[in-house]
Point group: C2
Chain length 415, copies 2
C-alpha cells in the first residue's frame, strides 16, 4: 500500500483518474493518423508502445494485440512495467517520451487482445442462489456440486467485443409458459451480467495448481456477458447455455495487470464445506474491486442500478483456471475466463436485471423516469470498476454497450 506513484504526466496524478502511474493498463488504440497499436493508459493520455523506447524486442508490439507480450512471460511483463514506470516518473525522460503520448479523447480503443477461447464461470454464491431460485425453485437453488466445483462452461470467443460496440437484440427460440410450442422471436428478456474477466497470459499443458494458475494470469478486464433470458430458459437443459449467451460479450478496453492490483488482494470467503485439496488457495487470490452498473435510456441520463464488489465471489480466477486444467485441458495465451455474474448479499448489489427485478416481476425505477424489467432498445448499459486506495484508484475504463433493435426477420425464417 505505497500510495500514488507520481508521474510527470500531470493528469495521471489526479485522485479521480482511473489511470495513475500505478496502473499502466494495456490496450490497443488508433487515431485518424495512427493505425491500431498497443498502448498503455497514463492519466488522460496513451503511451504508444510501438514508438517509445521501452527496451523490449519491438516485434512484441508488431501486431495490434497484447498476445505476443503475454506469451513472452512474467519476466517480460515485469521488465516492461519497470521500464514504463521509470520513463513516466523521471522528468529526465519527458522530452523523449512526450512525442509518443496520444490524448485518449482523440483515440479509438480496440479489443486489446486476440481472444483464444472464452470460458464463463458461475462463482458468486449469491448469484447462483438467486438465479437457481428463479429457474428451479428455492429447494433446488444451489446445485449440490456448487460448493465443491467452480462450475463453468465454454462460451464463444467470436462474440467477444470491445466496450462501445453496439449490441443487436438477438432473435431466438423461446417458449412461453402458456404455450405448447416454441416461437422464433426477438428476445424480450435481454439482460446484462456484471463480471470480471481474467486473461490467461502463459499457456499450460496438463493440470496446474492454484498458485501456478495465478502465475499464468496476465491481468483482468470488466466483462458484460449479455444474456437473453427467454432463449436461455428454453434451451439450457440439459447441456447448458448456448445461443442465449452468443450474441455478444463486451469487455473493457484496458487490461489491468496483476502488479497494479497486488495491493488489493483479498481472501475468498470462508468455505461452507471444505474444498478438495487441489482447489485450496495458498494465499489471497481475489481482489477488492468496487463495481457499479449504470443504465441510460436513449437520450436520457443514467441511473446506477447496482453496486457490487469482486470480493463477493466464492471462487477466484486462479481456482477456476486450476479446475479448468484438471482434466488435462490445455490453456493458451489469450484465453478469457469470465468470473460469472458478481452479486453481493443485498438486493442493490445484484449483477443482472434477472436478479434485480426478481425475474422481471419487480421492475426497478430509473432516476430519469420509467422503470426497467429488462433492457430496452436504445438503452446504454455501462459497467465501471476500480480498486481504490487512499489517494488513487486503479480503474478499467468503462465497459459499455447500447442495445439496437433486432434486425428484420429474413424471408426464409418466416412462416
Amino acid at each position: 500500500m505505497s500510495g500514488l506513484v507520481r508521474s510527470w504526466v500531470e493528469s495521471a496524478n489526479s485522485p479521480t483518474t482511473d489511470f495513475p502511474l500505478n496502473n499502466l493498463p494495456c490496450g490497443v488504440f488508433s487515431t485518424p493518423d495512427l493505425t491500431p497499436r498497443c498502448g498503455v493508459a497514463i492519466g488522460a493520455m496513451i503511451l504508444d508502445l510501438g514508438a517509445v523506447d521501452h527496451g523490449l524486442d519491438q516485434s512484441l508490439f508488431a501486431a495490434p494485440a497484447w498476445n505476443a507480450v503475454m506469451a513472452a512471460g512474467p519476466q517480460v511483463w515485469a521488465a516492461l512495467r519497470a521500464r514504463l514506470m521509470a520513463l513516466l516518473s523521471d522528468p529526465a525522460h519527458q522530452a523523449a517520451v512526450t512525442p509518443h503520448l496520444v490524448a485518449q479523447a482523440g483515440a479509438r480503443l480496440h479489443l486489446p487482445f486476440v481472444v483464444a477461447e472464452f470460458t464463463d464461470f458461475y462463482a458468486s454464491k449469491h448469484h447462483a442462489t438467486n438465479v437457481g431460485t428463479l429457474f428451479r425453485g428455492a429447494q433446488n437453488a444451489l446445485p449440490h456440486n456448487w460448493l465443491s466445483i467452480p462450475i463453468g462452461y465454454n462460451g464463444r470467443a467470436s462474440s467477444v467485443v470491445v466496450s462501445g460496440t453496439d449490441v443487436l437484440r438477438p432473435w431466438g427460440q423461446m417458449k412461453g409458459p402458456d404455450h405448447d410450442m416454441p416461437a422464433f422471436l426477438p428476445s424480450r428478456r435481454f439482460d446484462f451480467e456484471l463480471e470480471m474477466g481474467a486473461i490467461v497470459g502463459m499457456p499450460s499443458t496438463g493440470m496446474v495448481s492454484v498458485q501456478q494458475a495465478d502465475d499464468m494470469i496476465f491481468g483482468y478486464v470488466l466483462l458484460n456477458d449479455w444474456s437473453a433470458r427467454d432463449i436461455q430458459a428454453w434451451e439450457y437443459q440439459p447441456l447448458g447455455p448456448f445461443q442465449a449467451k452468443a450474441t455478444a460479450t463486451t469487455i473493457s478496453p484496458w487490461i489491468v495487470t496483476k502488479p497494479a492490483l497486488e495491493p488489493f488482494r483479498t481472501q475468498t470467503p470462508p468455505r461452507d464445506r471444505p474444498l478438495l485439496p487441489y482447489l485450496r488457495e495458498p494465499g489471497p487470490m481475489l481482489y477488492d474491486i468496487v463495481l457499479e452498473v449504470a443504465l441510460a435510456p436513449e437520450g436520457a441520463g443514467e441511473t446506477v442500478i447496482a453496486r457490487s464488489n469482486y470480493a463477493h465471489m466464492y471462487y477466484s480466477a486462479a481456482q477456476q483456471l486450476c479446475h479448468h486444467t484438471s482434466s488435462g485441458c490445455a490453456m493458451r495465451t489469450g484465453d478469457l475466463l469470465g468470473s460469472g455474474t458478481i452479486s453481493g448479499p443485498t438486493k442493490g448489489s445484484r449483477g443482472a436485471l434477472l436478479e434485480l427485478t426478481s425475474g422481471g416481476k419487480e421492475p426497478i425505477p430509473l432516476a430519469t423516469g420509467g422503470t426497467r424489467s429488462f433492457l430496452q432498445d436504445g438503452d446504454t448499459l455501462t459497467l465501471r470498476g476500480a480498486a481504490i486506495d487512499a489517494g488513487y484508484r486503479i480503474g478499467f475504463g468503462a465497459c459499455t454497450g447500447t442495445i439496437r433493435p433486432a434486425v428484420d426477420l429474413p424471408d426464409w425464417a418466416k412462416d
Copy 2:
C-alpha cells in the same frame, strides 16, 4: 452416381481404398525429409500441394493447415478440385506430378486445420433418448426442447488432436451415489463418442439460413469426443459438460470435402413435430456414411463393437450451423461442429460405451476375450467411416487413440 473416376495412380483404383480420385481429402503431412505441409490423399499416396503446379496462389499453402484455402471460398475449392482431378486422371501429367507423390506409409499426419472454436451437438434421437434415460430416467429422457432445437454446447478447441495421439486418462471430481462428498480421482468411466465433425470454411456474421450454412461447410471428419462419464455426471448440472469433455477430442486426419460426398446426400428423418421455419431444410443435407467402432486391448486384436450410419441423425450439420448463428453469433473459418454421438435404433448401433453397456451394467464381450464396461488403459479405440457406392468408397482414414494411464497426482493435489 457416376462411379469410380480412374487415376493413373493405380492404388487409387482399388475398390478397397478410402482414397479414390473421387475423394481427394485434405490433410497435413510430414516425412523425415519434408516439414509439415498440405496434401491430398490419392490411393496409397499423398500429393504434396506445396510443390505441384495446381494453378492456385501458392501462398494458400504457405502454412501447414487448410485454413487459408477454406477462407478463400467455394470458387477456389472448386477450382482446386477440378485441377487436381485433371492432374491425377490424365496420364499426360504423370511425369510432372509423380515427383510430388509421397507414400502414406512413410508419412506422419498432423491436425489438418487450425481449430478456431469447437461446438458439440446432441443430434441423434436414439442417443439422446438412451443417455437421457440413464442420467434422468425414462420419464425425462428426451428434453421437451429436443425436437425443436439442435441442442449444442461450446467445447474446447485446444483439446482437439489428430488421430494417433495418445489420450491420458483424466483426473477429475466425481461423487459416487453412496458418498456425500466428491473425490478427486482418475476417471473410472472413460468413454468414447462416435461423431462426425463438420468444418466451417466460410465465415459469417449475423444469422444464416440452412442453405447458406450448408454452403459455408468445407468438409467433414470423423470425430471422437472422449468423455469421462463419472466427471460428467457430477459436474453437468446446471451449465452442461465441462471438464468431462476437455481431455481430448480426436479427429480423423483427412477432411473429406462436400463434392466427394455429394452423391451420398440423404434426408433427415421425418419430424416428430414440425420444425420452426428457419430450421427447415431445402434439400437433403445429411449423408449416408457407414460407420464402425473397433476396440483393441493392448497387444490384442480388435473387436468391432458398434456399426452405425451418419444418416441416423435427426439434425444435419447445416441445421446445427444455422441454429448456431441464430442469436447473431459470428462463425469463423476453422470452426468445428461435432454432430453429437451417432446412435442408431439397434443396440449394436450405439455410439458410446455408456449406451452399449447400459451405463456399465451390461459389459460387452470382446472377440479376444474379456469384456468392457468402459475403456481400460492400453485400449486403442478406432472409428472408421466411408460413403460407399458400387465400385468405390469415400473414406476418412482411421480416427484412433490409445488410452494411457492417468499421470501421478501432484503433491499439491494430495490430502
